[in-house]
Amino acid sequence: MNRRDSLKLAAISVFGAGLPYSGVRAQNRYAKYAGQTVVFSIPAHPQYDAMMKILPTFTRETGIKVEVDKLAMGRMKEKQLLEMAKPSGDFDLGCYVVMWKGEYVAKNLIHPLEPFFANPALADPAYDMKDIVPIYLENLGLVGGPKGYLAGPGAKLYGIPYGAETSVLAYRRDIFAKHNLKPPENYEDFGKLLHVIKEKEGIGALASRGQAGHQVVHAWLLHLNPLGGSVFDDKWQPRFNDKIGLAALKFLQDVVATGPAGIPGYGQGESNTAFLQGQAAMYLDSTLIAGLVNDPSKSKIVGNVSWALHPKGVRRASQSGGLGLAIPKNAKHADAGFLLMQWLTSKVQDKAVTMAGGAPMRNSTLRDADAVRKYPEFITFVEALKYSNPDWRPIIPVWDKINVQALGVGLSEALTGKKSAQQALDDMVPQVMAIMREGGYKI
């Protein structure tokens, strides 16, 4: 062996030993927890259906077992609250809806995540937090900042987005081409188009949610924000009954009048089905529909859908919301729960769940060549995310009550004609103010 060969051998030995170093570190990260079982509270939801396909890989790679507790979204919160209030809970990791984050933190039920990410024994150095879509991270993860839920001074990270969404317009390009229509750029065009489609094609113009409770509020907020409105002003005084709130509600009434029959009884599932089964020409809601439109087992409109930005009102705005992951304070296996959360939201697994039909939460996935080839609509989604509004709804601890018990009833009454739009909005103001006062707001 000459000197050159000796140097080569030495170099290979050094770098060869170094290359699997990160792998060894990763293995060490998990070794301590191998054999533990993480109990994971999840909803029945397309994102988590996709997640189930990649979950066995986690156990194979880490030795950590996962037990899934799957519930309907509406029932998940009550079970989580009951579990998390116990001295020692059954959940090690939980999925939550964006509206619940403030309440969970206010009740001291979930861990801040900074100590986990600061722990070198747990944190993955390749995790790359900055790659997570910033609006998703702010909207789903941060609590304690301005208004209690926005990024800024005082904000702490309590959750990681997983099933996050924004709003885009999906439309039937075959129908639009047949009648020489263009996707609406603004709300004026959008309003006219509803009637044109109904008259020319004879099917519903826009699929929408409308069921009493959260569903109808979600539908109304989709129009309130772009039109320039909000639920409260900067001093927490209700302003949803102003002329913008009224315009948004009248627009929603128009959507009901020109949409598929039965919108006031539609939850998200019925709204999705109406579009996927060809009963509506447009769909303005969550980006999660992307995983369904080209699935022939669920959709009759495969290959006929194009995508556009949420139409512009006085401003360009798209929704921010969806689901996130958090670790309960009373988790028995909090560290293992964190490892699962970190693994699921890593770059590799975000792409994997996306390819399995889930929704990406990382910029790298949204721009990944394979992912874009499979879901060309990601190009529109990236554009929509530029306009995603983190203040879409006031995610304060009492929002869920305002959402379901006050606004969710009044808006529904306006859609069924029990009350006029203005009367429905005005009648809700005292109820909302009472709930705010109960919640400690001095208004």
Binding site: G74, K77, E78, L81, L82, M84, A85, E103, Y104, K107, L109, G210, Q211, A212, G213, V216, P260, A261, G262, I263, P264, G265, Y266, E270, T273, A274, Q277, Q279, D400, K401, V404, Q405, V409, S412, E413, L415, T416, K418
Partner: protein, 294 residues
């Protein structure tokens, strides 16, 4: 020769049953009364609950939605239980005599009440779907216009009533068929010999003889109609507006959405009072325990 039973023997025999009943029935009721006096949020420790006395009752009873829910519940119970009693008794009368394939009929009739309420709600939600539902398909096949069943306040109420009648008429049917089977055949024979017609035998002989069972069945159905939750939760979630928000759903929303467990307990006490009053009324109709007080 008669043996005198010591006074403590009945107490010994009844004691365990009374204790079990007290634990199973009385404890939750007393807990509800206790909870109604506290302001307690879900997800917080009981130690953080604040005593508010009658405050929760004042909050609950000054809320117009509680009274509109109570009215919806009374209407729902009256329509459903009335229809179920009539249909259940009619079916039992029709099938009490040996008919070919009787066992198949009976099995088919009792199937609905064996199905989990959530599945019943989902099933009817699809049946009533305005776009894809079987009911609208049948209406259109018959040349009638499709209806937006779950999007119209009146039709949504009809929908929850239909679902409840479908599920619980079999219960009345079973109770009645068992009761009718126990009617003494010689009395009916005597009525026939005396020239009683079918309707006279039915309304003046058979049904009065099973009036105790009718009263108990009525009471059980009334109690159940006031407690029904899952089917309506899935079918309409109380909407559109609050047109199908019965009291138990309002209690559920107050407890698990509004997280006012104390206020929810206070409304539960109201529900308890209403159900107790109606049960008392049903027992006044015909009390099977009357005359057995020796």
């Amino acid at each position: 020769m008669s043996v005198r039973t010591p006074a403590w023997v009945p107490a010994l025999y009844l004691g365990p049953a009374v204790l079990v009943m007290a634990a199973a029935c009385l404890y939750p009721v007393l807990s509800a009364f206790q909870l109604a006096g506290f302001d307690w949020n879900m997800g917080t420790q009981w130690g953080s609950a604040r005593w508010v006395g009658w405050g929760n009752f004042v909050t609950a009873f000054s809320n117009p939605r509680v009274w509109s829910s109570l009215w919806t519940t009374l209407l729902f119970a009256a329509v459903c239980v009335g229809a179920e009693m009539v249909l259940g008794i009619a079916l039992a009368l029709a099938l009490e005599r040996p008919v070919r394939g009787m066992s198949v009929f009976r099995t088919l009739f009792i199937l609905p009440m064996m199905i989990a309420p959530i599945a019943v709600g989902l099933g009817w939600r699809y049946l009533f779907d305005a776009q894809f539902g079987l009911i609208n398909a049948v209406l259109q096949f018959l040349g009638l216009s499709a209806k937006t069943w779950l999007a119209d306040p009146t039709l949504a109420f009809v929908a929850i009533v239909v679902a409840d009648i479908w599920q619980w008429t079999p219960f009345v049917f079973i109770m009645m068929i068992a009761a009718l089977a126990s009617v003494d055949g010689s009395i009916l024979e005597a009525a026939r010999i005396d020239g009683a017609r079918w309707w006279q035998q039915t309304f003046l002989v058979k049904l009065p003889m099973v009036m105790n069972v009718i009263a108990i069945t009525l009471m059980m159905r009334l109690i159940d109609a006031f407690r029904v939750l899952e089917v309506i939760y899935v079918l309409t979630f109380g909407g559109p507006g609050d047109s199908t928000e019965i009291l138990s759903l309002h209690i559920y929303k107050t407890a698990f959405v509004g997280q006012e467990l104390g206020v929810a307990a206070a409304i539960s006490v109201l529900l308890l009072v209403v159900v107790a009053a109606l049960s008392w009324g049903a027992l006044r109709l015909s009390n099977p325990m009357k005359g057995e007080t020796r």
